[in-house]
Symmetry: C2
Subunit: 357 residues, 2 copies
């Protein structure tokens, strides 16, 4: 009962950081006898260059058969001129939709030892530990849209934001279950003072809560207010559940408030398989130089062990190794501070391997 | 050629703060001979209680005839149970639409003397001076929507985000003109890697820029990235132009980063008339206690002088008086720090009046 992992390096630094994470997975496998097998597939601009499409059928099929997907990053200036359907981002959106990855999990935790990296004052940042649960296959991302239509001589384009009751039930339940394993507090974020889809969202969240999760504390917040509270009172939050579009904005805002975007993992979870990726981009400017911080991808691999393979012990071991390495003072360039031990990507991976037991 | 000002106190602290601003306007009138007349009208929960609707026809008609509108704030728990169309917020949305207030101007400036109020570290906050130009009568706020529709047994609700070329041209021109009077830099924020309406937005902004404003530096940013840059590099921005929905979220995020939401004004500008209001809410918890900070509303009145009446000298005088008063150490409770002179709303207004020349 081994596990088959599909690795998609993608573009830019995607190769380096997934290589690092695979090294960590291999060592973890040795220690915990997990019997992993691996397979590499293309996506993004790299796939476009080889096959003329950002997401080859072959990649999707491999993902369908895999037990978990480790994804690097996609994108780069050289593909920016392509028409929307051929751009690297389409690979991500395509994988989400075709694999039914309906929830994006984005943990944002500010460790006391990392507090100086936050743009926020320490007294505000302290204690931040948020799990953002973003709906990932619905809403305005996948609604009907029109690029251009002309009425009475006026050109217009439009996109439909839309949510169904089952979609909201599913994501709400996911958030409630997550809260049960954390601090029992869910904040549902919407814009129900304006949007009909938000009103359906809110009444569905309330019903799921009242009928199935009365033990959880559920509160509601408008998206504009949430964008504010993240900056002035981030420790208020435990689990935040929201729509695809609001989740895109809020999870990126929360991420940057942690001050260490090179260290934040994410999971995109589906019924059949799930995808794990760092939240940082492909950073073409530093690609190939070996200096990229591999931690976000390594922690994404740990999330895979936890959420896809139920290997909590092994996941804990990786997370501990990362924390130990940071406490030991190892820093890649993006988080380097005077007096610390500056290492490149391989140096960081090496140090984490040493701490992995 | 006097000017007629319609004052809409609204709910909660709206009355106190508009009273304070009117006192300042009267003194400014005395000094600069502006010949103002005033008229008070109801809106929000207060209007609902009196007339059964949050925005009486009479209020709209008075606004149409006025030269400028000074608005307090609306909302309160006691009206939260009302159906959407009767809630206090409808007064704001109704005024925006019926008066054609197509741009919301939200200046966010962090004065060096106020830097300690920002949740951001001083080295990040320093130099922040952003003018957010939010489109205010289009997009998903006023598109078609459906509260509930059932297909194949599945209930769904939806809202349409939609933009036309003339709508985007108009708001882009406004942003470009604003940039000409500032630092010549416009950042247009969209989600053109996903939304068709954003792609129309971006290509229209590019065309308006290239044809009419080649002297302005125009760049483009995705909304998720902008939510990040506000928190880590706010001094990068000069003028930010964006859609109604993104503008709602981003302007509130930027506001809170300034750390002094009780001091931020706004203008909602139309072709015939314009509305000026503090960005803070109605704060029912402190209403009637006389402790609300009137500065945001006083600075909104200054914006009225500048944008509706072209009285730059008088506007400057009010802004200077406010800054002087802050430098003199006067503070209402919301911004009080040890060693400062604590005053209530009237005390603050009095001190500003003293500094107004
Ligand atoms: C690349 C883009 C389409 C994507 C999104 O908006 O979902 C990204 O921003 C993300 O959050 O994963
Ligand atoms: C009250 C609400 C409808 C309004 C909006 O979302 O526009 C408010 O948040 C604002 O920004 O003025």
């Amino acid at each position: 009962m081994g596990k088959h992992i599909v690795v998609i390096p993608g573009d830019g630094i995607g190769r380096e950081v997934t290589d690092a994470a695979v090294e960590i997975l291999k060592k973890t496998d040795e220690i915990y006898h997990l019997d992993f097998t691996y397979e590499w597939k293309d996506a993004g601009g790299t796939a476009y260059d080889k096959y003329g499409v950002p997401l080859p059928e072959e990649t999707v099929n491999a993902c369908r058969k895999g037990d978990g997907i480790l994804f690097g990053a996609v994108g780069g200036d050289q593909w920016d001129h392509l028409e929307p359907s051929l751009r690297p981002e389409k690979a991500i959106l395509g994988l989400r939709k075709s694999l039914g990855l309906y929830v994006n999990l984005r943990p944002v935790k500010i460790q006391d030892s990392m507090i100086e990296y936050s743009p926020l004052k320490p007294e505000i940042a302290r204690g931040t530990d948020i799990m953002i649960v973003r709906e990932l296959v619905g809403g305005i991302y996948f609604g009907k849209r029109c690029e251009s239509e002309i009425n009475d001589g006026v050109e217009r384009a439009w996109d439909v934001e839309s949510y169904s009751v089952p979609e909201v039930e599913r994501i709400t339940r996911f958030a409630m279950e997550a809260a049960r394993k954390r601090h029992g507090h869910v904040t549902s974020v919407d814009k129900s003072n304006v949007l009909a889809s938000s009103r359906l969202w809110r009444r569905t969240a309330v019903r799921v809560h009242d009928e199935e999760y009365p033990d959880i504390q559920l509160d509601h917040m408008y998206v504009d207010n949430c964008a504010q509270q993240f900056a002035i009172h981030p420790s208020f939050f435990d689990v935040v559940v929201t729509s695809n579009m609001f989740g895109d904005i809020l999870s990126d805002e929360a991420a940057v408030l942690s001050g260490s975007i090179g260290m934040l993992p994410s999971a995109s979870i589906g019924k059949e398989t799930s995808l794990y990726e760092p939240i940082h981009g492909s950073a073409p400017d530093i690609a190939g130089k070996g200096i990229a911080n591999p931690i976000a991808t390594i922690l994404s691999a740990a999330m895979m062990l936890r959420y896809s393979f139920n290997e909590d012990r092994a996941a804990d071991a990786i997370e501990k190794a990362v924390n130990q390495t940071l406490e030991d003072g190892y820093r890649t360039g993006d988080i380097y501070r005077e007096g610390m031990k500056k290492v490149d990507g391989e140096g960081m991976t090496e140090a984490i391997l040493q701490n992995l037991h």
